[in-house]
Structures are given as C-alpha cells and as structure tokens.
C-alpha cells in the first residue's frame, strides 16, 4: 500500500489473513462496500469491530432481521406518536421533523467523522432488501419526502456487509461490492486465534482441545458444526474446570458448549460407541 490511505493490518485481538486485510484496504480505497461471507463463527462481525478499533472510527451496527425493511435503516416516521400527540394536543404536531428519527444508515450519514457502518447478516432480510439499498449505498444519500429533505453523507462511511449465504444476493448488488470469503481457519491459524484470546494457555491443553475440535468438525452427520466462538467458550470452560488434559479427548467434557443440537450430541455419542467416529475420521 503506497499511498497514504487509512490502512488496516489486523488488531490486537483479531487475527486477519493477508488476503482479508488486502480486501479491506481495497474496499476502503475504492469506497465500495465490503461484502464478507463465511461460515458462522469465522469472525465476520468481529472484523468490523477490529477495523473500528484499528482505525479509531465509530462503529454503527445495523443488525438485519427477517422483518427489516430497507427504509428502516434510513429513517422512521413515527406516525402513531404524531397521531396520539394531535389528539391530546401535546407538543408541536406541525413540526414533522420531530417525528422523524434516523435509522442506522441515517446515523452513519449524519455522523461528523467518518464512521464504519456494519450491515450485519444482510441475507436474513427479504430477497428485495439488497436491491432497495443500491441507490443509498452508491450515492450515499437519501430523500425524506415528508420533510422534503435530502440527507447526504458528510463523510462516506466505510461499509462492511456480512452474509451467512442463507439467500443468494442479487447480481446488481454484488457488482457494487468488494467480496471476500473467510474460509474456516486451519489448525495453525486457529492456534493463533486462541492465543490472542488466552495468552497464557498451556500448549498441551491447546493441542488436545484443537485435536478434538477438528475431529468433531470432521464427523459427517453433524448438522451444526462447532465454530470458533464455541471453541473459545469450550477452552474457557476447560481451563476453569481444571479437567486433567488427558481426559479431554476421552470424555469430551462440556460437549454442550460445542454442540447446540440434541441430534448432534446423539450423533457424537453414537459414533463414539461404534468406536470410529472420533478416531481416524
């Protein structure tokens, strides 16, 4: 990176691969949203936090739900409140501005300093949602018909979008994004990640835990594979409980921390009974 742009190179508690850092910097330089995809628990949401920390910029998070509409992110016109106020003659009802509240995107646009806008799990929303956001993300402005105002971003926010690939995103939307897929970390990277969170973890414990963890992930029939955050919780539980290290592989204590579905726990139990599931898969 030669020019003097804000440059992201990971942070103290986030391990980013060089490709990921490159993608982040490209998206900042080209002023295009960065679309991050990957298995749950590969640190998609954490990335935005890490960038905000590293570049010392405010982070605005817009979590998408299945009922979220694109307009909700821009502004909300509280008509019901206005109606009630008019009945009881409270406040100045003529002042519509009072009833218009900025959404998360709106907030990011009116922020004084360049913020980071995280649109989290965009695929949760309706299929049309990404298309409805095209103009706003392109031009970084929107129009409020009620007050005849145009809100334009003071500083183009850095936009990070995450997706769990539950739904396909429209092509028109994809064309405007920089894309990066976070692959599930390999054991070596995972070791670094764990070390960031537990600086003084015993090496033998880490070996055992990682070994069992990747074996569990290797079992074919597991529906919800344990991810990084579950591994971290598990290691925490293991260290606190002080279970002897050699028992980890044998007993798999606190399995419920790693697996969140009854069927999956049954599957693991079964394959252990048959004696091959955990060994040699």
């Amino acid at each position: 990176m030669n020019n003097a742009m804000s440059c992201f190179s990971g942070s103290t508690n986030y391990v980013a691969s060089p490709e990921l850092m490159h993608a982040v910097n490209v998206s900042i330089a080209l002023e295009k949203p960065l679309l991050i995809k990957g298995e749950p628990g590969t640190g998609k949401t954490m990335l935005a936090e890490a960038i905000s920390e590293a570049l010392e910029k405010e982070l605005i998070i817009w979590s998408i739900k299945s009922t979220t509409k694109a307009k909700d992110g821009l502004y909300v016109y509280d008509t019901v409140q206005r109606l009630y106020d008019s009945q009881f003659n409270e406040g100045n009802v003529a002042d519509i501005k009072k009833y218009i509240k900025p959404g998360k995107v709106g907030e990011a646009f009116i922020a004084e300093k360049q913020p980071i806008l995280l649109i989290d799990e965009i695929d949760k929303a309706d299929l049309e949602f990404p298309n409805d956001m095209l103009w706003e993300l392109d031009k970084m402005e929107f129009y409020i018909p009620e007050t005849k105002e145009t809100i334009k971003a003071k500083e183009r926010p850095i936009v990070i979008i995450t997706s769990n690939a539950e739904k396909e995103l429209p092509d028109a939307f994809l064309r405007r994004c920089i894309f990066h897929y976070i692959a599930f970390p390999d054991p070596d990277t995972m070791r670094d990640i764990v070390k960031v969170h537990f600086a003084d973890i015993e090496n033998r414990l880490l070996d055992q835990a990682l070994d069992s963890f990747y074996r569990l992930r290797g079992i074919r029939d597991i529906q919800k594979k344990p991810s990084t955050s579950e591994l971290l919780d598990w290691i925490k539980a293991l260290t606190i409980s002080g279970i002897p290290i050699e028992k980890i592989e044998e007993e798999l204590p606190f399995l419920g921390v790693l697996l969140k579905k009854n069927q999956d726990i049954d599957t693991v139990e079964q394959s252990r009974k048959r004696g091959f599931g955990l060994k040699g898969m």
Partner: protein
Amino acid sequence: MFIEFFYLLRERKLMVSTTEWLDLCEALDSGLCGPSLLEFYHLCRAILVKSEADYDKFDMAFAIYFRDVENLPDIPDEVWKWLNGGEKTKDELWDKIDPNAPDYELDQLKKMLQERLQEQRSCHRGGNYWIGAGGTSVLGHGGFAKQGVRVGGESRYQSALQVARQRDYRDFREDNILDTRQFQLAFRKLRQYSSTMQAEKTELDIDGTIQKTSDNAGYLNLVFEKPRKNTVKLLLLFDSDGSMQRYSKLCSALFQAVYKSNHFSDLKVYYFHNCVYEHLYKDPACRRGEWVNTEWVLANLGSEYRVIFVGDAAMAPSELFREGGNCVIGMYNDIPGVDWLKRIKDRYPHHIWLNPIPERSWHDIFGHYTVEAIEEMIPMFELTLTGLEKGIKKLLVNR
C-alpha cells in the same frame, strides 16, 4: 490492459461486468497492488468474484491466462515447448493404436507421468511412449489413446479417463400447452398463514381499532394484528434421469404449476439423476459442476422447508444401496443414495415423494425393489391430481 483476461473470465462463465472491470483498473491505477502476482491475484479476486462458489472458476482462468508467468511447478518448461504444435487427425492415429495396450488405472497413469518426466530429455511427436503431442501415447495431448492424462493443450477427443457421458435433457421450464391449472389449484392448498404462528403484530387491524376507539369514547386506540401471509417454504427435488423422460409432460405441468403458484414464501428447485447423492443439480441437464452440495442444502435450508421429491424411484438396487452406486461415470459416491435420502428425510419432517408411475404398477415394474424401499421410507403418492392432493394434505400435517 489484460482485456483478454476479462473475456477469458466471461468465457469461463464468470459473469464479470464492465463496472467491475473498470473498478479493477481504477484499483490498479491507484496503486493498490504491489509488484507480486499473488497480490494481483487477491485484488482481482476481491473485485471480480462475488461468490466463493466461483473461486474455482476464477482460479482456473487465472492459471490459464498467467501460466506463462508462473508455470505449474511439476511440469518443466521444455515439456510445454515439446507439446506445442503439430496435431494429427483421429483417422491418422487410429491405425497406430496398439490393441494390446494395457488399461491403466488413474493412479498408474499419474505414476507413469512422474517417471517419464524424469526420463524424458527431448521433444516427441506422434509416438506412443513418451509424453508428446499428436500420438497414441497415454501421456500428452492432442493425441488419440483410449485413456490417458492430458498434459496441456485442448481436449480433442473426449477419451481421457473420467469423461462422463453427455446428457442434454429437455428443460422442464419450457412452455407447453398442457393445462396446469388443476395442479395449481391443488398447490393453493399448501399454505399455512403466519397469523397462526408466532409473529410480530405489525398490521393495522381496522375493525379492532374502530371497536377499541369507540370503547375509548372516541379517543384513538390503535390495534395491530399479525400479518396474514403464507409461510410455507418448498423444496422441490426433481429426478431428471433418462427413465423420467416419458413422464416429462406430466413433470413439466407440475413444475409450471409450482412456479405459477407464487404464494410460497420461498421455493427452491434442484434436480438429481436417479437418486440423490452428494450433489444436487441446478438445472435438469444435470451437468457436471453446475450443482450445489447436498450438504449445503441441508445446512442452509431450515427444517421448516417442505420437501417434495418427484421421481420414478425405479433404479438398480446398487444405485440406491451401494457406495459408488452413482451411475454417472466418474462420480463415485462414498455414501449410498439411501443414506442421503434418509438424511433429507430426518432433516425435513415434512416430506413426500410423487411418483409418475401409476400406483398399481409400483410392485411389478422394473425397479420395483427400490420403489418399495423408498416407499417404506418416504410417503409416496402417484403423480396425479388426486395423488397430489393427498400428498399436500400429508405435507401440512404436523409431523
């Protein structure tokens, strides 16, 4: 610059748009890329490729375009030179084939390639032993051997190991005149309103509001209710095997009925060939590579999806029960088809199988063994209006 690369990508079915290409140019102009090819690779990929599913296509195109920059490590430069130019026709080569040549396994061929790479010191054309172009050796390209490893060049005669047979079945989506309305009416029954489920109250209930406001002596009192929308999500799995072709009209009608029934909250359609294995195809032609992993479907489509299989369920028992039973050449399956069906069945509590073969013949046709086995596992109905209606009732029943 690199404009051929752009077209190569598009040729490889990576639909890069002009906007994205200009973005890449802008990125290069503004010095976002260092001198290394790897960095350039990552930059291109981040800007041009928008799905991890396409990473592979991109890699292949990149490797082809930049192969002069960085050669494959295990094939030395001279070998590439030996292989360039001088191709012969199939007829010229035909009489050169040694009929007694042994059949090699893929592993053997790979090993032979290794050995020859060590022995060979010069360029070869038209021979039958060394790595070369235009001969009947099993190693090289542009030649004609019953099997072999292609080293560079374009595929000429599709005879290298692992070429699966081409199947181009007619697309179910094409229009026909058959009346689909009756099927459509049947599908209309497949619904479950969100008002009977847990949902947020987001819609204004006008009657309720009038009632409450009157009760409240004219002071406004707004009442909201749950929206009334169909929440049924449908996963449709079509068999597009050759034996299904005689039922294509019927299947086509069903397909169109489903597509026209726009009241589903989501509809996913995939195809399989005889039985479900590790891949589900995206279109009825079942072309290699144009698929999604069955695993992905299981992981990403929640258990609320209702599954309809459409297929004749008649196949050779090994196709259902055996590992490696997949009859498509080169598609060895580690997990028998029956286990895949079971996994789908376990994942989605609401599932039915529609069979275009009339119910009365299920027990005496060719393949009745697998029909019966599947019928035992998944509720099976014949693909007629009555069968469909019965099936839909079954899909709506709770567990």
